[in-house]
Amino acid sequence: MKLITKRLSIQFDEGSPPFKFLHSIMLHYLVSCSIIILFASFSISAVAREITVKSGTKINTIQKALNLAQNGDIIKVTESTYYVEDILIDKSISLIGIGKPVLDGQKKSNVIIISAPQVTINGFVIRNSGFSNIKDKAGIRVEKCDRVRILNNLLENTCFGIYLAKVNGGTISGNIIRGNNSVIQSGNGIHLWYSNHINIYNNKIYGQRDGIYFEFATFCEISHNLSENNHRYGLHFMFSNNDNYAYNIFRNNGSGVAVMYTKHIRMINNTFERNWGSSSYGLLLKDISRSYISNNTFAKNTSGIFMEGTNEVKVERNIFLNNGLAVRMLANCEKDTFLLNNFLGNTFDFTTNGSENLNYLKGNYWDKYSGYDLNRDGKGDLPYRPVSLYSQIIEKLPSAVFLLRSFVAELLDEAEKALPSLSYVNLYDTEPSMHIIR
């Protein structure tokens, strides 16, 4: 409930008076709603039982508690280490850890399997799942059920961290997933397959194969996560339409973030940084259409954005800072727009492999722009050509990269400024901004 209130308040935060009025009405409505729900839950809890798992008592294993439990019950697990394997939760219960109890999978199989709707797992340390190259073994595996809630757990040394298959609706939040840093044996941190309407927020994922992996996952929200030092991608999207991701940080992953074969994605306020290596990208877009990329920061990546077969994507108000190549756009990209972005301190601002251009650049700030603004409207009077002559030469002749930072290379770029006809790539910003865009 609190979450929904927060979302709505974000939506209505724009602050014009009618919205504020509406906002207050909404709040009243929400408050009354939540009171009703609170009462409702009290009345349920009157029916629901609490079962406590504690060593030394009669119920000393989770399995015993599960056998006793009915739908709607709460199982509280007290602080201890429990050695378990494939705990199957097939009733709609809440499993709550008191003082971070440890569930140790003894490196055998999955640790927890959930197959009932409306299950909550909160506050556990889950470690040592099995590792297998054939079966995907996970810390928490959720299969074919609805509205699962996985909150505030610490997952260590698990093959896959949290694995969702065919799940409708759910929340994954506040978890920390730490891989075992073995490239061969690691799976994905949070793995979604054929799932929809899942909220993933405030998680931290380190040292897995892919931090977050989506395949056929639709209508999901991914926000405020940190994905760092993963072996392959920080976030990996395939065939997953209509997802939003915002305020995430993807740092120092093997190959950055990959979004592939997908449409209607919104990527807002994310940070992609330090994805550095000869085949590493801040953001790799492959066969993407009708998506929106805005207010992100791309810093210190080998390629900030790498676009292949990307159509009708709007890239707006992003910052490209100190990348090797800020944007690499292959010739099969069409109808993409770049508006009001800042390009600062990149070795190359733009590279492409074709001469025809079907994309649109306007009003960006380029620190390499050296034109003038006679009528003082803040827009440069000469168009800016972001694809430098030297980068065009490298495109045709990869071994010319040998001359990087040599006097010749710098002279070539200067020559291009004096004689624009030297350049054959038909790509330019018609109204480059004279000032950094805030």
């Binding site: 000869s278 190549l325 990869p398 001359l403 930072r405």
Partner: protein, 237 residues
């Protein structure tokens, strides 16, 4: 003196202007590759021509000519090196202090001695001061620009062939290229260089590659000064 002030001004300026140290270093690389060779070769040539009478006086003394030449070489070389170390080396180590700045120093020092050596060659082959300076400027121009230009043209002409290994060999023919590659591969920018970069990295990044490139640079010191010595010994002053 002025050279020292110029170098230290440019390096401190570049480091203070850029919040990002690697960016400061990469701007300084341009200074290193253009200014250091130019000043080394010009300063040495002018110095030798200006002290020609003094050299004549020394030759009249019972001294070996080779000792006179090496004395001169050591004097000029050490002073230029000292200025380089204070002007660029100190700021680089203060602001950066990583392995990159040490490579920076190594390649800069080698460049300095290489171009001092070339200057000796330029100034013994002719008696005329203008011609001597002309030759040294031409040498600098050749190594910093013409060589790479020709290399680029050759690469275009033979672009169907795998040229990576050949370019490693060719780069040994130009001390400025050697210095640039040595520093570039230590800077994190090397990731930009893709496949070709990987080939270079494999060679120049390995300890054998570094030894080979340092040896190639030293050859660039020895051969010009050796020729200069032979000419100077035979020469009628």
């Amino acid at each position: 003196m002025a050279y020292g002030v110029l170098l230290s001004l440019s390096s401190f300026g570049l480091f203070l202007m850029n919040e990002d140290v690697t960016k400061g270093l990469s701007s300084l690389l341009t200074v290193l590759l253009i200014v250091v060779p130019l000043v080394s070769i010009l300063f040495t040539t002018i110095y030798i021509f200006n002290s020609y009478e003094f050299i004549e006086l020394l030759v009249a003394q019972p001294l070996k000519r080779s000792i006179i030449l090496f004395g001169l070489y050591a004097g000029v070389g050490i002073s230029l090196l000292a200025v380089f170390w204070i002007g660029i080396g100190l700021p680089a180590i203060i602001f950066d202090g990583t392995v990159v700045s040490w490579y920076f120093l190594l390649s800069g020092s080698l460049l300095t001695v290489v171009f001092v050596s070339l200057a000796f060659l330029a100034s013994v082959v002719t008696r005329d001061k203008t011609r001597g300076i002309g030759i040294s400027i031409l040498l600098w121009f050749y190594f910093s620009l013409i060589f790479d230009g020709i290399l680029l043209m050759v690469m275009f002409a033979f672009s169907d062939y795998p040229l990576e290994k050949l370019t490693i060999l060719i780069s040994c023919l130009n001390p400025i290229d050697l210095a640039r590659i040595m520093v570039l591969l230590k800077m994190d920018i090397s990731a930009l260089m893709g496949y070709t970069g990987a080939v270079f990295n494999q060679f120049f990044g390995s300890s054998i590659g570094i030894i080979v490139s340092v040896l190639a640079m030293l050859t660039w010191v020895i051969i010009p000064i050796g020729i200069a010595l032979r000419v100077f010994k035979e020469k009628n002053l």
